[in-house]
Symmetry: C2
Subunit: 328 residues, 2 copies
């Protein structure tokens, strides 16, 4: 049975929604989920959730807060739930770790406790991006490495490609480089050098993609440095949220709007959900010796459940070996 280590203390809605997510996942599939965190609070939450399901609990005394600096929290809070959960994977007692806590701490933990792949300079974060056709693409790096060399971007491409094939079910993912123009010679020095390397790589490289086309579904893997990737991700999220707020306002601001809003409500909620990252489970950290799924801080129980199911899919399909194969 696949074993997931769940950081019960990480995230804006921890531990309640995190544990509720574990309950949902257990109802959906036959998996073993270890809850890592403050035992008393976890037990209390299980009572609140009125569930009969039993979960193994590993008690930890410390929690990483958003104010902790990722680079020294690993040293200062060894017993934090995210590190204890990651150690369960390193010690092969669990197959994957899932957390909605501090991304920096989770990355530091994965890199130092699980270790990087041989040959991988810097691990990257893969983030699923919805498109207007109802499909998905994968952006990598979504924020792990702010300053990148061309080699890093090529490795992100290879790892994301392996993930898109193995976990997302793409046969031959279309890999595109995020750039500020479509032609080969466009963009920063980094983009131009990366373009040359991607052309030669063992990938279905389709050239540059501009960010305005990102949600159109014309590629499956979007390659980017972590700074740009993170900016894009947060722009998509911010703009989609803001536009939907304006639409909501439009649907309440006068009589005609209110009537329209009433009739449109169900349909509009579907649109809103399409761009809500909290709905998409998590973002895999690619390039470490184990499965570590990073969830949005705002994750609710459904998002946590999706992330757990995503982790299961990574384990079932032996993602780590596939990525090692793709990058060696």
């Amino acid at each position: 049975m696949i074993k997931i280590a769940l950081d019960a203390m990480g995230g804006d809605n921890a531990p309640h929604e995190i544990i509720a997510g574990a309950v949902l996942a257990r109802k959906q599939a036959d998996i073993d989920i270890t809850l890592v965190g403050d035992q008393a609070r976890i037990e209390q939450t299980l009572v609140e959730l009125k569930t009969d399901l039993k979960f193994p609990i590993i008690h930890t005394s410390e929690v990483v807060s958003m104010g902790d600096h990722p680079s020294d929290v690993l040293r200062k809070k060894k017993d934090a739930s995210i590190f204890v959960a990651t150690r369960l994977v390193a010690e092969k007692r669990c197959d994957a770790v899932v957390s909605a806590g501090s991304t920096g701490a989770q990355m530091a933990g994965a890199i130092f406790i699980l270790g990087r792949f041989k040959g991988i300079d810097r691990p990257g974060i893969g983030q699923v991006i919805p498109n207007v056709n109802g499909g998905f693409g994968l952006l990598c790096d979504a924020g792990a490495v702010a300053d990148c060399k061309p080699l890093n971007l090529v490795q992100f491409a290879l790892m994301a490609n392996a993930y898109a094939k193995t976990v997302m079910g793409f046969d031959n993912p279309r890999v595109a480089l995020l750039n500020i123009g479509e032609e080969e010679e466009k963009g920063s020095e980094l983009a131009q050098e990366t373009y040359k390397l991607l052309k030669k790589a063992n990938l279905n490289f389709t050239g540059n993609i501009e960010s305005k086309d990102l949600v159109k579904g014309i590629a499956d893997v979007y390659v980017s440095d972590g700074f740009t990737g993170n900016v894009v991700l947060k722009t998509v999220e911010g703009v989609a949220t803001s536009v939907m707020k304006l639409v909501k306002k439009a649907a309440t601001e006068n009589i005609s709007g209110k009537i329209g809003g009433l009739f449109l409500k169900t349909n509009l909620n579907k649109v809103k959900k399409m761009f809500d990252y909290a709905e998409y489970g998590g973002a895999p950290l690619l390039g470490v010796n184990g499965i570590s799924i990073i969830c949005h801080g705002r994750s609710n129980r459904v998002a946590i459940k999706s992330a757990i199911m995503q982790a299961v899919k990574c384990v079932e399909n032996d993602l780590v070996s596939k990525i090692i194969q793709a990058t060696s």
Copy 2:
């Protein structure tokens, strides 16, 4: 009287919408607009537009196409409308140039024909960004300089600040650095170094801003390298367009949606317009010895009219001197 040189041949809808924009502007204000381009086509368009207004025309035989490379088009097509129009400003025969043609060619023309300010390493493009409160901020650089040093970003900040004060009417613009976290130590090396310099600059520097907050209206000037700025801009545009398309689909896909859509139509059109850059006139090129306003390629007559009025405002308020003051 203020004299504008208008590139009649640049843009997806040239010359018809460009010249229609000139007609609108002339109806609104007492300005002199010189139409630069193919004389026969301009005269034909004026007939089509059924206007009695007379415009000085300067005939040019060449047009920059989107396929031309900006770096050699200035040499190869000396008589292209954008370069002739820019020369009118350099020779003080006009006060500002407005174009919806190739941004690269317009920039090359401005830099080599008008010249850069002394001390300004690289001119930047300022782009007005709408916010959800109905207000606006200015992003700089929006795509002129893909590879930046911290000094470039500080100069963008000072120039954009001067523009925000002089042309947009902000008393004491809140200047924020676009970054992937709010804390000072976050982000790329470039962002970290720039942060230190902006703190010391003569600016109302409010710290980092994340792209998810860009359309929230919590700052007035957003400082960025041109690669990131361009990516953000195109993401805002792409996501806003895509979300509004989905909303439109939601308002037509079933009976209840159709009824709702009918009642909501007017309100939703307002939301759609808020994020349509073609509506906002143009983007000033900051750091050259003259006013050069870059319009969106898709500009319609209203956008061209707005850009002309924006150019007038730049001239009236002596933007060039204000920027020289701010950066020297």
